[in-house]
Symmetry: C2
Subunit: 385 residues, 2 copies
DNA sequence: ATGAAAGCGCTAACAG
DNA sequence: CTGTTAGCGCTTTCAT
């Protein structure tokens, strides 16, 4: 697949050995812990003494000659403070390089200015587009977004759900692995949540895509284009989106009667597309066109087609879900069912913001967005030769 | 660019209006706060009373008839407890559905089991591959990874650096926007850090790629292939990787004498590649081959070439950095300089783990990984027509 | 091995 | 408007 010219990497052994975990503090001297300034003689961190000590709110208070409460009020602007004192506080804070401890604040306030977005695959452009949507609206509201990659792994998913709970994030946007994903703890901690891309067996806000409709349109298009044995390569059986896209395919096929129903399940990855295509094409009476459930799989399909010397658009019609950045550059340009990924993210963040602020109605809201069929060349039937 | 069949999305207005922020608690009744069980008469959450109340360590302690300290010790396994009591504690904890409050724990322990990975572009496959590397080793060490997308925006970067500090993450892996990115606060908070992809003007661990070497090899390859006016489309001038790749190009060009030095800077995006190519090709004496500094830009180059009716591999030679998943499927297959992205992440995580555990030497370590030239078709010179 | 008590650093009632 | 006081929920000495 190309000439390789050079290579040289190495992954070093774990130089750490099996030593017991040690705290963050560098192990320099004996076990004696650093002593914090407490005697009035210390007089605060004056001048250029670049101590590694962390400045706390009380240091600032002392330096500014006010109470910690006033420092807090000044810096948070929640209550009015005498301008003179406020100035003194700000001055002291910046002189000392004070940085509020977010953990302490969170503990006290019980919320953070952070929200978590848990997706099933960072390397899928569909999800990164969603991410952008989420980020844009979150940022406009002054919140940060922490991305968590659950990788279609229930274990990782629950770990991240746990992290979100532990860290007391303001809200969670989740693309659940399965409808049964356990979010009870989040609910119990009353952390607002919005589900995207796939449904959840819980009464929560959601933003979904009419996948089935898109799949049906894609399959119909394949048939209209003159392909006579369209098949479907969809995601794993336990993924709702995979089922829906398969359903859409089946609906279309059934509308036309006479057609065989041909489909396989495979992981939502390039490798999955490859093996799925292989299984289908190895059948006694193989399909002449493929509706593929995601762009990463589509790449695998192209790979397998190439391996077999099948010309896409001639020997094999192909259309896929997701308008990845590369779709119009492959040969031939790939027809797709585009999902409004950015909007999914933006809408979900909207809904979440409303929950966070408490301005949302109690009943869960469900948004359904539509797909868009973009016909390029891979799905058209070009005469052989 | 394709026939569009249907579309229908909408982005609802901000239904929230401009109401002041309200805490997470649903605003149901008056201002009276929920009262916590404190009277001995309450007797703990027996039976099916599914209270929305959050269970705290003291509830578990009471339920198990031990002290909070014992509960903590049991659940953290840091000190030995009587097996009988331990069993009782565990039983009580699970019966009550106790979930330790991570924020409180972090405040006390001053660390979290989470590390932050700050990258400049989630939608760049190079960075998602890095992410996988980081995740794999972090997970094997029992840590979770929070991904932060700084988007080449110094503001966002510093926000995330701030979040990382606030949340007291165990460590940070950063792909800095500029060498001058301000990480002083992290250092002051003694949060371990590893820099990837680009250097930082600070004595910290780093994992980098010999970009310049790769760029030089790519350019030399273009020249060897028979192209006579190779040009370079690199990233923004303030990005180190962009400079290095340009340098590599220049080195190669200079080695050959006689050749003009042709290059432009542009954002590391598809759009950037497009405009960069346009500028270069619009010149009086345009190049006949392009060395592109990243895969997303390369897509833009393909777009521009198509727009102008230039045949890649015939009228225009192209080679790019990064072996994105689609590179071998575009037409013609794209030659690339592959970076060991996964390894960058894995190695960085390794280094970070050692710092977190305190088993690393004090002096910063610098790892340099090599690229790999993969020659496909886009860079070969095929006779016209 | 266990419990009591002392905070981690901050914010929010509550008086003044 | 400001300071005092009381925790947020947990872990960890320090005694026992």
């Amino acid at each position: 697949m190309g000439t390789v010219r050079s290579a040289s990497n190495r992954l070093p052994d774990d130089a750490a050995g099996k030593a017991a975990p040690i705290g963050r503090t560098a192990v320099v001297g004996s076990g004696a812990r650093t002593v914090r300034a407490s005697s009035p003689l210390e007089g605060g961190a004056r001048g250029g003494r670049s101590a590694a000590e962390v400045v706390k709110i009380n240091d600032v208070a002392r330096e500014a000659g006010v109470s910690a409460a006033t420092v807090s009020r000044t810096l948070n602007g929640r209550s009015s403070v005498d301008p003179v004192l406020a100035a003194r506080v700000r001055e002291a804070a910046s002189r000392l390089g004070y940085r509020p401890n977010g953990v302490a604040r969170s503990l006290r306030r019980q919320v953070t200015d952070v929200l978590a977005l848990i997706i099933t695959d960072v390397s899928n452009p569909f999800f990164t587009a969603i991410t952008r949507g989420v980020e844009d609206v979150a940022q406009s509201r002054g919140l940060s977004v922490l991305l968590c990659n659950s990788d279609e792994d229930p274990g990782k998913e629950s770990t991240y759900l746990h992290v979100a709970e532990q860290e007391q994030v303001a809200g969670v946007i989740l693309s659940p692995h399965r409808a049964g994903s356990d979010v009870a703890h989040l609910r119990r901690a009353s952390i607002p949540m919005v589900v995207i891309d796939r449904p959840l067996d819980e009464p929560v806000d959601s933003v979904m895509v009419r996948s089935r409709e898109g799949a049906r349109a894609a399959t119909n298009h394949l048939i209209d284009a003159g392909w006579t044995r369209p098949a479907c390569i969809t995601g794993p059986g336990d993924a709702w989106t995979a089922q829906e896209r398969l359903e859409g395919y089946l609906e279309a096929v059934r509308e036309h009667g006479e057609l065989d129903e041909l489909w396989v399940h495979a992981p939502f990855r390039q490798q999955g597309g490859m093996s799925g295509a292989a299984r289908l094409l190895d059948a006694p009476d193989p399909p002449d066109a493929l509706f593929v459930a995601n762009a990463q799989m589509a790449l695998g399909v192209l790979e397998e087609a190439r391996r077999r010397g099948l010309r896409v658009g001639v020997d094999l019609g192909v259309i896929t879900f997701d308008d990845a950045p590369w779709t119009s550059f492959v040969s031939p340009p790939m027809s797709v069912v585009a999902q409004p990924a950015y909007d999914i993210g933006a809408q979900a963040a909207q809904l979440l913001m409303e929950r966070v602020k408490g301005t949302a109605p109690e009943a869960p809201r469900h948004l359904w967005l539509s797909t868009m069929l973009i016909v390029r060349e891979s799905s058209r039937r070009h005469g052989p030769g």
